[in-house]
Amino acid sequence: MIRARGLTKQFPHFGKRGTETLAVQDLDLDVQKGEVFGFLGPNGAGKTTTVRMLCALIAPTGGEAWVNGHRVGEQDRAIRASVGILTETPGLYAKLDAVTNLSFFARLYGVADIPGQVAKYLQMLGLWDRRHDLAGSFSKGMRQKLAIARALLHEPPLLFLDEPTSGLDPEAARVVRDFIDELRGQGRTIFMCTHNLDEADRLCDRIAVIKQRLIRVDTPARLRQQLYGHGVLVRLRAVAPEHVAAVKALPFVQDVQQADGSLSVKLDDPQANNPRLVRALVAAGADVQFVEEAEHSLESVYFDLISETHEEESA
């Protein structure tokens, strides 16, 4: 669905000759059909610029990209016809009602059955009863839903969502998340920029972390594994130094941390080695209460990756 190689965007500094801002640098991406792809990065990391390049809104200054089989820069109109985009702000005509807003965009996308498609998405997103109300009178959540409906009118196989739940109350955010899940069920490909790491963790099949250039891309689970390895949390009645020493002596253990009556153990192949770990602890006189998989939030993965980049940059 999306293939980018060395995608780069430099913006000239207007008024200052010879200076340029590097927004995106040498970005390689492959997004497969039916995938929910999370695009994470701090403010100014180049997320929106990347989306704009992939939606053929702005031209790359380097590299190449194909979207839905169309080459960016050569078949821009075909790209725009084949993707749906939810921009960071809903961008609706406040003085027009919901139906007129959607019908206008449906005409631009060349939708064949405009009333049918408009009705379908207004009903699907629970806006049918407010269809003749001005978009300006809608709540933030309703506006976001109307903007999502607009992005889907022409049934694009690929959808770009820029901060889909930003600024929404928890209930509205949940409706939007459930809808994204529903779209995944329909086999659509979703490219989602978000700062909500919990949302990315729940919805995305794979995640890319960028800061001008690509830092890492993988499934959330593999990102955790790459960063933290396999971890096990062993809760003991009381932790003694001999327990820690016994664990450290095991050949498959990479690291042991002690905290709050627990041992956080980083080890190879937990399925095979957990029984050996428990036996070693019992032999050292420990009273084992629980053994559970150590949880690392996507948030900690994200911050570690970003701080690694900061360190590399300052070095």
């Binding site: 913006f11 207007f14 704009r52 939606c55 809104l57 702005i58 031209a59 109109r77 075909a78 725009r80 016809a81 993707v83 985009i85 921009t87 702000t89 809903p90 961008g91 609706l92 005509y93 406040a94 003085k95 027009l96 007129t100 206008f104 965009f105 005409r107 631009l108 996308y109 060349g110 903007a147 607009r150």
Partner: protein
């Protein structure tokens, strides 16, 4: 250039739907022509009545061009005044489109609708054409209607000679040819200025500069220095066309997808 007219008319339809809900624009579109036509017809009517009643109108103070000297003095005086008023009628396609275009573009900037709009398959050229038609067509039609209503009013309120001179080929060509060219110039100025400002009134004030030559020309006519003929109107139309082309070139330059998304603030 491949233009998808379906997209263009979709933009025109959307713009007009928004105009219908904008009371400020509707009021301006209604008031300006009504006041102008009422002023011209009313002035002609009361001056004729006053003259018939023997009141002194000081018409001797205005130099009458030789083309009108065969007419009774009061009629020649009124015709000369109407010549000046015709320029005011041309202010409708000069002032209203810039206001509508500026409102439209600044409105899109304020509501952040430009990005989703530019993300559709529409080309920037189609979008510009759609917005231009939407902003220019109502004032042009309004100018023509005002001219027709003015002639109808003069038929009732003035003399045949006054009606004849006001309805002569000069002003028919002027209204049909010059008003669309002025409207196009007005729209393009609206587009260029709107790319830099966030207030439609600011765009209108800047575009007000273009009204000055028109007012100046009207004064030249009023003081009898020139009596407009068809060839003058055609020459003027050619000059406006050249200015239009220059303005369109700059409007197209600022109205590019990437420029709009990254430089318009």
């Amino acid at each position: 250039m491949n233009v998808n007219w379906f997209c263009v008319w979709a933009v025109v339809g959307k713009e007009w739907a928004e105009i219908k809900r904008n009371k400020a624009i509707l009021l301006m579109m209604a008031l300006v022509p009504v006041l102008l036509v009422a002023m011209i017809v009313g002035t002609d009517y009361f001056m004729l009545r006053a003259s018939a009643a023997g009141q002194d109108m000081d018409e001797d103070e205005l130099p009458i061009p030789e083309q009108l000297q065969h007419l009774p003095q009061i009629e020649a005086f009124i015709i000369q005044m109407n010549e000046q008023y015709m320029f005011y009628l041309l202010l409708i396609p000069m002032t209203l489109p810039v206001y509508i275009a500026a409102h439209s573009i600044v409105g899109e900037k304020e509501t952040r609708t430009l990005e989703p709009l530019l993300a559709t398959p529409i080309s920037t050229w189609e979008l510009l054409v759609g917005k231009s038609i939407a902003a220019a067509a109502p004032p042009i039609v309004l100018t023509w209607i005002s001219f027709a209503v003015l002639l109808a009013g003069l038929w009732f309120a003035a003399t045949p000679a006054i009606l004849f001179y006001t309805a002569r080929d000069v002003w028919i060509v002027g209204m049909l040819l010059v008003s669309p060219l002025l409207a196009l110039l007005s729209v393009m100025v609206g587009v260029i200025v709107s790319s830099r400002v966030n207030d439609p009134r600011a765009a209108q004030q800047i575009a007000g500069v273009f009204v000055v030559p028109l007012i100046g020309l009207s004064l030249v006519v009023l003081f009898g220095m020139v009596f407009i003929n068809v060839s003058m109107v055609i020459y003027a139309a050619m000059v406006i066309l050249i200015v239009d082309l220059v303005a369109t070139y700059f409007a197209v330059k600022v109205f590019q997808r990437e420029t709009i998304l990254t430089r318009w603030k």
